[in-house]
């Protein structure tokens, strides 16, 4: 059973590929950070903020593509191997859609039918100084410091 030697395939690997991918990843990260800084000035819950977040998520996926494709070398593997890895991960599309939709729906339901929940999310709280009030074992925790 030792006949199946791994066949060496020449993949015209660009000599500068690693350097180029490093630059791409760094640039994408810097863009993400710039967007992050821009987002600080935007109001919460606004469309601008939402659009920025979506852009950041797209950049995140681009970074993931470059890491998996080039650093982990998946792009240069056989199509068979690529498919056996990537196709199961497509389940994530459904997981993310379904769960986030569910979470969002749960919030709407509670806001509509649970007055206490709704009320809790409108009362402004006073900032506490380095301590949380809900007691459970608080004293013990803080002696550790």
């Amino acid at each position: 059973m030792e006949q199946s030697e791994v066949v060496h395939i020449e993949h015209h690997q660009n000599k500068n590929e690693v350097r180029n991918v490093t630059i791409v990843l760094s640039v994408l990260t810097i863009i993400e950070l710039v967007l992050g800084f821009m987002m600080m000035k935007m109001e919460h819950g606004g469309t601008g903020r939402m659009a920025t977040k979506i852009t950041i998520l797209v950049l995140m996926l681009a970074k993931a593509y470059y890491i998996v494709g080039y650093f982990m070398h998946l792009k240069h593997e056989l199509r068979n191997l690529i498919m056996t890895i990537v196709v199961p991960l497509a389940l994530f599309v459904w997981f993310i859609t379904a769960f986030l939709y569910d979470g969002n729906s749960f919030r709407n339901l509670r806001n509509n039918y649970d007055p206490h929940f709704k009320e809790q999310s409108t009362i402004k709280a006073t900032p506490k100084e380095h301590k949380s009030e809900e007691g459970h074992g608080e004293e013990k925790k803080h002696t550790m410091e």
Binding site: Q3, S4, E5, V6, V7, I9, V18, T22, S26, T29, E32, L33, G36, M40, H44, K53, I56, L57, M60, K63, A64, I67, V68, F71, M72, E77, L78, R79, N80, L81, M83, I85, P88, L89, F92, F95, I96, F99, L100, D102, G103, N104, F106, R107, K118, Q120, S121, I123, K124, A125, P127, K128, H130, K131, S132, E134, H136, E138, K141, E145
Partner: protein, 223 residues
């Protein structure tokens, strides 16, 4: 699909591996895929809870300290951590490459850089955890308010510590694996074996750790 042919090679006709990688590497890929589902489950759960809550703390108010500079520097420290991990990933690529070329010294140097990067990342994370703990944040304790000034739940800190902790644990295991690889390289184990394929598998794991950080960093610190 199953009749995929690359040029003239019929990969599914038997007698050869249809994936054209050795067993260990294929299994590492499958392990990483399952690990991706674990992390995915964590992050999706975090997203679901966040979507089902009216308010959420602003990460720029929570994570705004830098060692030696005090607070008021949002995103700075985590950028440093991100770049440390990216660079350590690059040095790992170089180590794998040097392994292909059978250049032992180059493998050793790049592995050492990778280990330094991983240790630096873990150090940063330890500092951040310690700092947050000193501010009163821990599992079950959340001193931060929502962005709109309302009382927040402990979901925020629970998810933060669980997921960054799980990722940090992966970094730690990757670090141990890389140290083992370094020792094996120094002992000429791979030289005697005639190939450095083991480094490749360790490299896959290390890149995966970097990959997960891309997601954790985005989900917790940026958005």
């Amino acid at each position: 699909m199953s009749t995929a042919t690359t040029a003239t090679t019929k990969w599914w006709n038997g007698g050869k591996s249809p994936f054209n990688v050795e067993y260990g590497k294929l299994m590492m890929w499958y392990f990483l895929m399952s690990d991706a589902f674990t992390f995915g489950a964590f992050l999706i759960s975090y997203g679901t809870i966040r979507f089902s809550t009216n308010g959420w703390p602003d990460p720029n108010e929570v994570f705004q300290s830098f060692p030696g500079l005090g607070s008021g520097h949002p995103l700075m420290f985590v950028s440093l951590m991100t770049f440390i991990l990216i660079i350590s990933s690059v040095t790992m690529v170089q180590a794998v490459k040097a392994g292909h070329e059978m250049k032992k010294n180059k493998v050793v140097i790049n592995l050492i850089w990778t280990i330094i990067g991983g240790a630096a990342f873990l150090g940063c994370q330890a500092w951040e955890w310690n700092h947050l703990h000193a501010e009163g944040a821990w599992w079950g304790h959340n001193p931060f308010l929502n962005a709109d000034g309302t009382q927040s739940s402990t979901n925020f800190t629970n998810y933060f510590f669980t997921i960054t902790g799980f990722h940090g644990f992966h970094v730690f295991s990757g670090l141990v694996i890389n140290i083992v690889m370094l020792i094996m390289t120094l002992n000429n184990t791979f030289e005697k074996r005639g190939h450095y394929l083991m480094i490749e598998k360790a490299g896959l794991y290390w890149h995966f750790v970097d990959l997960v950080w891309v997601f954790v960093f985005t989900c917790f610190y940026l958005i």
